[in-house]
Amino acid sequence: MKIAITAYGESLADAVDSRFGRASKFMVYDLDKDTFEIVNNSQNLNAPQGAGIQAAQNVADLGVEAVITGHCGPKAFSVLKAAGIIVYNTEAKTIQEAIQLFKEGKLTNTGSPDVDAHWV
């Protein structure tokens, strides 16, 4: 099973990016093989609108079953939901920690966006 985590850097010790739409990268982690790859999301950094939607489309194309991030707005959430991807929110400081919490079943899946619609 593969999951995507919004990432500030390219290693497990790096921080989880608390934003979804404007995160510069995703780490796509393969839980069965314990390997990962980094996917660029930086086209959204300067997008005037629709960054969350675009990021969700990118994630849907990656074939992951879940996304771990800090916060996710309503439009991005609706795209992920339509793609059958579950969103988990975390305040874990590092990607390593977030993955560990996920494996232990300790992350919350609230089933809804956790922030209002926003532009930046």
Partner: protein, 286 residues
């Protein structure tokens, strides 16, 4: 002749002066309130709306029985308003800019464009002043389509005064574009000066002639006169800070009611603009 009254900083006196200018003019004039997010010219004019019309834009609707989820519509959309998820295609109408690209590229004609109301146009007439305003519906984010609808009412046989929105972003640019002259209203404060410089830079890029009116002046030499001197910008008028004007404003009275002596001064502003635009044909005036 189309004159836009704009600023940079909000609250400098655009509407106050646009209304006064329109009332002072001694020839047929049209006042168009393009500040569609918060129109307020009508507060200072004493007549009622005669005509109303919806402002509509087109938004795509996908017929799922015809959609093959090829993704071409999502690919062409620059505004991230359409998402293709292989098994279904989602539309976010609030992000759509109505470019029509999606419906053009759809290979199965699954996309129709449907009317979507975004605001309202209101028109009123009196003997020598024709007035119209646009109002963006609450909850809508894009002012530009409503501003376009207001500007479409401009009568080229009259002096048309556009009351612009504050700031220097899309609504301002949509309002001042294709006008003959822009009057920038500012105040002698650090914010006034800063935001004026942003408006000046933008108007210079647009290539429209402009000049400045300084409102609420206490000293004849001030931050704005200094800036305009450095930048070689014409100052048409400095209006003194006067509590009587604020009191009149709070009663919904226009500037000419508070200061009738400004009528001839504002008529001179119009003559001055005409002379700048058509120097060969110098107008008379006091």
């Amino acid at each position: 002749m189309k004159i836009a009254v704009a600023s940079g900083k909000g609250g400098t006196g655009k509407t106050t002066i646009a209304v006064a200018l329109a009332l002072a003019a001694d020839e047929p004039v049209q006042l168009l309130d393009c500040d569609v997010e918060e129109p307020n010219c009508h507060i200072f004019l004493s007549f009622n709306t005669e005509e109303e019309a919806d402002v509509e834009v087109l938004k795509p609707v996908i017929d799922e029985t015809k959609c093959i989820n090829c993704g071409r519509c999502a690919e062409i959309c620059q505004f991230n308003a359409i998402v293709n998820l292989k098994i279904k295609t989602l539309v976010f109408p609030e992000l759509c800019h109505s470019c029509g690209g999606c419906s053009l590229v759809c290979p199965t004609k699954a996309i129709t464009e449907e009317k979507y109301r975004v605001g309202i146009l209101q028109k009123a007439n009196s003997i020598d002043l024709e007035f119209a305003m646009g109002k963006l519906d609450i909850g809508q984010a894009m002012a530009v389509p409503v501003i376009k609808a207001v500007k479409a009412l401009a009568d080229n046989n009259k002096i048309v005064i556009f009351d612009a929105p504050p700031g220097t972003s899309c609504p301002f640019i949509q309002t001042v574009s294709d006008t003959d002259f822009v009057i920038l209203i500012t105040e002698p404060t650090p914010f006034g000066r800063h935001d004026l410089s942003l408006a000046v830079d933008t108007i210079r890029k647009l290539g429209i002639p402009f000049a400045v009116i300084i409102n609420r002046v206490t000293a004849k030499e001030n931050l704005i006169t200094e800036y305009c001197r450095q930048q070689n910008i014409d100052i048409f008028l400095q209006i003194s800070e006067d509590r009587a004007v604020a009191e009149a404003y709070s009663r919904g009275e226009n500037l000419l009611q508070a200061k009738p002596q400004l009528k001839t001064v504002l008529q001179d502003v119009i003559i001055r603009i005409k002379n700048i635009l058509d120097p060969g044909k110098t107008q008379g005036g006091c």
